[in-house]
Symmetry: D2
């Protein structure tokens, strides 16, 4: 349940204010060079404290590899890793032990397990994404070897689509104690045709599951996505063309690089929609476990907009899915 992937399988663990976050990345092909400094830089991209409106919690987030990589190369064995939780001010969350905040996982989690580590959101905290980024960062390095690259960007913050204005829009929300959602778009280049499974394992279905599993995500589409719904077939037809090198491609890419659930060699294009952060920096109406209304005065550290920090998380999840399917593809033929 805390595992994703079939051949390349990531299992993660960790509560926000426990000793550490971590994971096991199994199924990584053997003998591949891993640049650990580069991996650390990738992980640093999701760190907080770097942009306006981001949480002031600053973990350092040093990746410690415990297995599976030796002398800079993958062994084919599972890569175990941890990232310690150093800067956890649990006392800031004491008042939440018996409260359910709006739009948080407090209540649903309590009904599921009848127990809950309320400190910093426990396992429901977006801090769990650090393990995704470590694993995804490894996957990205392998994909580079086969000419596949992944780039996510913030396409929308609130209702602002202009990248130059986004920091200002976030600052405005912060000033009002409010928060923002947005959209991250992601493009995967260099994916060979033929990845993905035809029915339940359609490549876009796997990508959807991966992206929707990121905290705060409320929507996913690929290619022309939701806009497809309002278009006629004649308007979104991706005509074929023969490229100079004799291979086949399409003139347009309404299909987003996937047809019938299988990559067609064009860029894979998708969008991931995030809800606004639920913790406002103003009095919050909550309810306690007896059903009494209570008002919270949020302390702790919270992002006003998670989009900038979520960019490497989206890239990481894309990388895990694409590499897994790259490996599965090898099993489609016997000889």
């Amino acid at each position: 349940m805390n595992t994703i992937g079939k051949i390349l399988a990531l299992t993660t663990f960790g509560e926000s204010h426990g000793p550490a976050m971590g994971g096991v990345l199994d199924g990584v092909p053997a003998g591949m060079d891993i640049d650990l400094a580069s991996l650390q830089r990738f992980v640093d991209r999701r760190r907080t404290g770097q942009t306006i409106g981001a949480s002031s919690r600053n973990e350092g987030d040093v990746v410690e590899i415990l297995s599976g990589i030796w002398q800079g190369k993958t062994l084919g064995t599972p890569i175990g890793f941890v990232v310690r939780n150093h800067d956890a001010r649990s006392a800031d969350y004491e008042h939440l032990a018996h409260c359910y905040r709006p739009n948080h996982a407090d209540y649903s989690w309590q009904t599921k397990y009848a127990i809950r580590d309320h400190r910093g959101g426990g396992r429901a905290s977006a801090r769990e994404t650090v393990a995704r980024v470590v694993a995804g960062g490894i996957a990205i390095q392998l994909l580079e070897r086969v000419g596949i690259s992944i780039t996510a960007t913030v396409a929308q913050v609130g209702n602002c689509h202009d990248a130059g204005q986004m920091q200002r829009v976030i600052a405005d929300a912060v000033a009002q104690g409010d928060t923002l959602g947005g959209i991250i778009s992601c493009v995967v280049k260099g994916v060979p045709a033929g990845l993905g499974e035809p029915v339940f394992g359609k490549l876009h279905a796997q990508l959807a599951a991966a992206m929707m599993s990121i905290p705060s995500v409320h929507g996913f589409d690929y290619g022309d996505g939701f806009d497809m719904a309002a278009r006629r077939g004649s308007e979104v037809m991706d005509r074929w063309k023969r490229r100079g090198d004799g291979t086949i491609g399409t003139v347009t890419n309404h299909s987003g690089g996937i047809q019938g659930g299988i990559s067609n060699g064009e860029d894979i294009v998708m969008r991931v929609a995030f809800k606004p952060v639920p913790t406002l920096m103003r009095d919050l109406p909550a309810i306690d476990c007896q059903g009494n209304d209570v008002t919270l005065h949020p302390r702790g550290r919270h992002d006003a907009c998670v989009l900038p920090r979520a960019v490497p998380v989206v890239e990481a999840m894309a990388a895990l899915v694409i590499l897994d399917n790259y490996l599965i593809k090898k099993t489609n033929v016997l000889l």
Copy 2:
């Protein structure tokens, strides 16, 4: 790869013009009454030939249960079933053996397997959804026993949101040899709080994967979905309330019944976006396997808009996911 679900697991098989479609639904709890006549009626809802713009292929689609149900009750053993393919005019598709149609899976499939049953789309045909509907229909009957109901509706066809106008809009498209996409919305009522897994198995991530695996689907969201991206946190806050019976609920439902990936007891609300059918009833620009342009004159039977027929498919996929998570929930506690 042709299996979905963890405890309740559906495996399907079948090519559009092969002898039969079918599946195995494993993990169904024992001792439950199944009304086979009602199941057949549910399956009949996805049959063609019932609405304007729908394919004229008419299979009958008689469900034959081969195991797992005896004397009207589930045995706890896997339910094997088949639906025969009677009305397959394979000759209609002969000319497609060496062609790649636009926006179809022909090319991507060929690159994956280097072999392909081109007749009627083979396994890439939406005919595979008949197996989903059989299995989902069984799941729906079990969910009814625990007070859970699922209703999908066509919310949009092309850019028409008015249900009373949809048949006319489809008729217009048919008249022009064109096709339409649309949006199906789905509501699940009566889901107890506590279903779903916190990280990779978030309930909405599982629903996304299930819905995105339906042929032609290009987008998924839940609650306020993509609209969430443009809203501020203060605008989408679902305030808690204590209900008359002492239980806790929310005043609004921007969250769509799921918080932190776990159901919160409110209605689960989601949308599924479909692309327009790729086969227009006009000359189609295709390419052959040598890269030469060819023009196709579509024959065979094709829907101009799959939305009406996809409604029970969406319900079926929702039912499979919800029932699976209902069963998994039982394992969260030992005693």
Copy 3:
């Protein structure tokens, strides 16, 4: 739960006296020739009525392929198949509806599901192995293409190790209304070094699970197996040698072709121990569901010794495991 295998995954269904047995074999590489006549002959090898002491039930067991094979070649899609149950005399089993026979699954099954198809053992019948043989027969044909062959033989019946005497030993048991167990040994030749997963997926652990899942099996070992326990390290050391072609092998094969859970290129050698058939052809002491002693007078058709019929079942299970690992091996490297 009714599925085995990771990439090559077999899911089966069917009760002994239901309409049909069947299965879905997913993950079969595409484009491979399948000789259906040869497959049918392989399936016929497990049919009853061919040897002394075997059940007189004779099904014909005609394999009907429903998908995944077209024009004699695999498509890469799941192979669905059924074998109809024609000759089921359910009335013979009426008296067993409320009885628990000794050494049968009646009682344990009833406690698990609180419902049970008692006719012919329901899903607990060894008739379920027909689906294994269909799937395994397909796997065997693929393994032949890569030079891997599998041969199982009856090594022991009761305490008779002499193949020439086995028919007589079985006849003696039949004459006394008694039954016999035995041992089947299995050799897999031509397996390349490097198959199997190091820790929980050791090749012999997978083989053990596969063999122990065959009805009536009570033990499994490989190489020198249980005899290893009594030997000293110096006695079972497989010395390395360089073969004429420069490759490396071992002089002896106490290790049974597997070291550290991974094949080493030598023959894989294993043994599978079967208990005697529980249904004797004499009065049987049973108990009813109220706990009252009852005496059964077995009718129906039962083997006195299943070993001869189980030979292709053992071969089938070995083939499924080896082919699955052959495919997984492809994912150990990226390039």
Copy 4:
């Protein structure tokens, strides 16, 4: 591939001379008390240096829990844990980098991954079992809550079956620079009837896979096991009886507590056969990667007989399988 279990799933990682061994135990029911001191004592039982003939490597093996347990209770979230490798004298293994030792995983591993951490056997070392013992120790504590207990014992060392003589027999082998195998028997008491899955997931098939995955294991059987093969049906019949409390049981237990793959409420009894340790303390004939014969003079630390240390490993694996099936059983019914 480094994961075992369906609902209760253990994933492990770690190389013998890497920074740490560890694992993630997912699916543990929430709200259960865990006694960490007791868990550490259980883990200490597999430590070396405690008996004659055991390796002198002494790690301390301090279990560090990183997640999933808070204030002494399970949270329902994955339990991440590590055990550091402190006392690894890698230089002792330098000479093995390009050698394949007899009966070790060196060669098969090299053919699989084309890279290998040769130090102390890398991931092929029995040191990986420390992660199994941590996870199994947690499972044992939960099983105690539902009245299930597990006891493994050394039943045979070499050809000695007398527990009082075993230390002497091992000492003799050590004196001769030789090694011994043996048999561990394991009894699980208090298992309710109804655990296990009927076909591929038979309880004994799962136990076999779990036990055969322990390093050095070459055989598994349950109940009368391999002896069943030589017996007649009339000799191994477990007659039913009604117990004083009205429940049903058997007079004898040739079936080993499992019938048709499902527990019947009697003690589950099984045997696990270990090969002798391959590293003798005398000159060893090996081969280098060019195929030249080389003679090794074993250094490093090696057990002469692993049986005493393997006892908690067998108990741990039994506990993981039984608890997993205990949880799965909950899903057999809907209400």
